[in-house]
């Protein structure tokens, strides 16, 4: 049967979360989602949120409404493409911040040589970070006893939340045949960072340069560390001789 547009309706009332699972052997293109939220019994203000969860149980996408619904109130929420975050009342415009990092040091290894043993996951820490100011939503924290840094994200500074972050991480592996990946994940489970996201491969030379790109919309002022990890299974130990790099770009309405 040819593909066709359909409406899946689940009218029942449920306590959040409410879910739909794509049935076996099927595939859908999601075009629009609608739901009614009744906050009469809510334990507090809330953000209506759409999450996409992989079959492995990982949240691969988080999409929130522009503003919170007050406890006791109700909302009929529609998600569809092309909707941008609302500009905050009184905002003068938009601002952006760029953060660039390089000078990698892996952990564990005490921040030392960039070498990964077989079947080992190591965090990619940075020894050199540059960022523009303001705003201050992109920053960094010490890891490995202060010998390297982890990029952090938090709403605030000169930006109102939510703001969007686009990132690119590039790792140049030496030539070898074997599974390797690069991934980024929040260190505190922050659901607004739509990660972990990963790029993986096992061939050479096609997978010797891995470029991981992605976006997420940060909603909160809670400090979130963006942990960049590398893994290689059987090529090693593998010494990465070319300086890995990372770039984070945040943009949003001014506070």
């Amino acid at each position: 049967m040819a593909e066709a547009d359909e409406v899946i309706s689940i009218p029942s009332v449920e306590t959040a979360p409410k879910e739909y699972t794509v049935p076996g052997a099927q595939e859908i293109l999601l075009k629009c989602v609608r739901a009614t939220f009744d906050g009469a019994g809510a334990g507090g203000d809330f953000l209506p949120t759409l999450e996409i969860v992989s079959p492995a149980g990982q949240v691969s996408g988080t999409f929130t409404a522009d503003s919170a619904v007050a406890a006791g109130a109700s909302a009929e929420v529609s998600w569809f493409p092309g909707v941008k975050a609302a500009k905050a009342s009184g905002a003068a415009g938009i601002q952006a911040q760029l953060l660039q990092a390089h000078g990698a040091a892996f952990f564990p290894n005490g921040g030392g040589p960039v070498v990964i043993a077989d079947s080992t996951v190591a965090e990619l820490g940075w020894t050199s970070i540059f960022r523009t100011t303001p705003p201050t939503c992109l920053d960094w924290m010490d890891i490995g006893g202060g010998s390297a840094e982890r990029v952090t994200v938090a709403a605030g500074g000169a930006l109102n939340s939510p703001f969007d972050v686009t990132y690119t991480i590039q790792v140049n592996w030496p030539s070898f045949t074997g599974l390797r990946y690069v991934e980024v994940a929040p260190d505190n489970g922050d659901p607004f960072c739509a990660v972990p996201q990963r790029i993986a491969g096992h061939t050479t030379p096609d997978d010797d340069v891995q470029v991981l790109t992605g976006t997420f919309s940060e909603q909160t002022g809670a400090l979130t560390g963006m942990v960049v990890r590398c893994f290689q299974q059987s090529g090693g130990p593998v010494a990465i001789v070319t300086d890995p790099t990372a770039q984070f770009f945040a943009i949003g309405p001014t506070a």
């Binding site: 029942s12 959040a16 293109l29 989602v33 019994g41 909302a75 998600w79 909160t220």
Partner: protein, 66 residues
């Protein structure tokens, strides 16, 4: 009366079997689930790529149904 709200999502998310579309209510500061929020009238507009039955996963009564 429920106030209308809109939110963005990527165009035509391509989801295979086993993917879960979850509608939930989160705390803006912590990201934690906010208790006691009722969700109803969930409607998904989709393109059915293979033309099979998409409603087999829609159960009349779920565990957390009230």
């Amino acid at each position: 009366m429920a106030a209308p709200m809109t939110a963005g999502m990527p165009p035509e998310l391509d989801l295979d079997a086993g993917y879960v579309i979850r509608v939930t209510a989160l705390d803006a500061a912590s990201g934690a689930l906010v208790s006691g929020v009722k969700v109803s009238g969930l409607t998904l507009e989709v393109t059915n790529v293979h033309g099979g039955d998409l409603n087999s996963a829609v159960q009349p009564l779920l565990v957390n149904e009230v």
